[in-house]
Amino acid sequence: MADVVLQPNRAATKKTVGKRGGLHNMLKRKSTVAFLMALPLILLIATLVVYPAFYALHLATLNKSMQRFVGLGNFEFLFKRETFWLVVQQSCIFAITAVIFKAVLGFIIAHFVHNIPAKGQRKWRGMLLVPWVIPPAMSTLAWLWLFDPSYSAFNYTLSFFGVGPIPWTGDAMWARFSVILVNIWVGAPFFMIMYLAALKSVPDQLYEAAAIDGANWWQRIWYVTLPMMRNIIAITTLFSLIVTFANFDIVRILTAGGPLDRTHIFATWAFRIGIEGSDIPLGASVSLFMVPILAIAAIFILRDISKRGNEA
């Protein structure tokens, strides 16, 4: 990334190289102009992202009425609650399962799209990306209706195969399955499109060379495709892990955390406690538990990006 920013303007230097004072002024002015151009961005990040993040830390140390400092009292309280551990468990199951399935599904679909002649690819790509384009709140409503307890279109169809009615959002196991399924549906197209872009950037000569060497289909994927796509796979997966871990819309609309708090993840539980239960400090404490996971993923992503920047 550094190479993007590191471009002292040679032309400007040349122009004023005659007078030393002028040069100095010019450079000074250039950085001032640049700073002013970036100032709205800096203000936005500082007041609406950095400040609230630290404010959340402060809030997490107050009692419910926000009058008294309780230190780590909120966290102690959380650790003693069974629901909290359910949320931790469900957040991990939800994020990890969904991301793995999204990645695998995206990888497979990207290969199929890549396989077909270039002329028809645009059409398929367009169709397969639709779930990613529809606002998740809207598409989750459609899923909620497909899962409806009394008029479920899925159960209607399954009944023809002799499969009994499934309590999609009513039973803990099925509700967990449902939220993950919807998340996969929303997110797999993103992986598909990223992997497709990566596949297109693998030079054909590599496959030809592999074919001449007698590599079979599986060997070509394992020894050519995967190593060439490693960077994109890593970045997309980490990126998706963050988004999935912090998901709100799908769980909120589909199950609202139920049945019996079995499908709550950090974001929905924080909303339930902080906004609906108006215990802002406790809600802030809950959402802070997302930070470590996000931080680890962010460190890996940044490392990957700067590594690639140095290679280029």
């Binding site: 920013v5 590191l6 471009q7 303007n9 040349k14 122009k15 950085s31 001032t32 102009v33 640049a34 700073f35 151009m37 970036a38 961005l41 800096i42 936005l44 990040i45 609406l48 609230p52 993040a53 404010y55 959340a56 809030l59 497979i108 199929f112 396989n115 077909i116 645009r122 990306l129 639709v130 779930p131 384009v133 606002p135 998740p136 709140a137 809207m138 598409s139 409503l141 459609a142 209706w145 497909l146 008029y151 797999a188 197209p189 499109i193 990223m194 872009a197 994109i232 970045i235 912090a246 709100f248 902080g274 906004i275 802002i280 809600g283 802030a284 997302m290 996000l294 940044l302 990006i305």
Partner: protein, 303 residues
């Protein structure tokens, strides 16, 4: 393929080519087969939205095949499109999204220009900071922001909670970092000679931005605009937290809070609303798919 191998190719080689093309034909058939299955999986919910939206409530509760419309009717559409409440949601969403896109571009484009071409103290740190901000989800910040705005309301009397314009302050935190990030990528791909020539010819930095960078990076600009629009149109958490009166709500929250009354789900209208709510991003995507995809892939890969 056959013409290329007709002369001097040994018979064994010919057979090999034949089997390869047969393999390829089968691979193609299987690819189409699976693509059809995946397309069905991916398109079922939107198609089901459409099917339900064309049904009357009597047909929805009848025990008939849910995948087919026997008596299509537009009553759900006329019902929603003549309801002031629904039009209000649509209007709020449209206003918020248009303003947010404008604000985002006004902040992101100059900032990306400054970060990609002009160095100043801390600019490298800021570029990393922009990326990190882009990774911070809104679910982490909604509680402190809610409290912050409530406090501002108490201190200054400026009421921000439960006003649609509070979203104009909130959404840019989601759109600006991303748009800045992809604009940095696009600006970095512009050859340095171009703006150096402009500066030598006496153009100011501002002129270099508007006359050279913006026209050349127009595809990136369009991608960023589409993104800012789709993000602000689809956002659900912030309006759910920060707005409650029905005249302040935007589409996604409006549909969910007003059309679902207790345990009574008017599915015909809900699906119609969801379809109409999904329509603007889908229409934009139908026309500008390539920009959308370019932006999607640039956002996560371009360093």
């Amino acid at each position: 393929m056959t013409t290329a191998t007709i002369d001097k190719a040994a018979p064994t080689r010919k057979v090999k080519y034949g089997s390869m093309s047969r393999d390829r034909a089968w691979a193609l058939r299987w690819s189409y087969f699976f693509l059809v299955i995946f397309a069905i999986f991916f398109l079922t919910p939107p198609v089901y939205m459409l099917i339900t939206s064309l049904k009357s409530s009597a047909e929805i509760s009848a025990a008939t095949n849910p995948w087919w419309v026997f008596h299509p009717t537009l009553e759900n559409y006329t019902g929603l499109l003549t309801s002031n409440q629904f039009l209000r949601f649509f209007w709020n969403s449209a206003i918020v999204s248009i303003f947010v896109v404008t604000i985002t571009m006004l902040i992101a484009v100059p900032a990306a220009f400054a970060l990609s071409r002009m160095r100043f103290w801390g600019s490298a740190t800021l570029a990393t900071g922009v990326f990190l901000t882009y990774l911070i989800p809104e679910t982490l910040l909604f509680i402190p922001l809610f409290k912050m705005f409530a406090v501002i309301g108490d201190w200054t009397g400026i009421q921000l909670i439960n006003r649609w314009y509070v979203l104009l302050i909130l959404y840019p935190t989601l759109t600006v970092p991303f748009c800045t990030w992809i604009m940095i990528g696009y600006f970095a791909s512009i050859p340095k000679e171009l703006d150096e020539a402009a500066i030598i010819d006496g153009a100011s930095w501002f002129q270099t931005l508007t006359r050279i960078f913006i026209p050349v990076a127009l595809p990136g600009l369009i991608a960023a605009t589409i993104f800012a629009f789709t993000v602000s149109w689809a956002q659900f958490l912030y309006p759910l937290v920060f707005t409650t009166s029905t005249d302040q709500l935007v589409m996604p929250v409006g549909i969910i809070t007003t059309l679902i009354k207790g345990d009574v789900f008017n599915w015909g209208q809900i699906m119609t609303g969801a379809l109409l709510g999904a329509a603007p991003p889908l229409i934009i995507y139908a026309f500008l798919m390539d920009y959308y995809i370019a932006g999607l892939t640039a956002g996560a890969t371009k360093g």
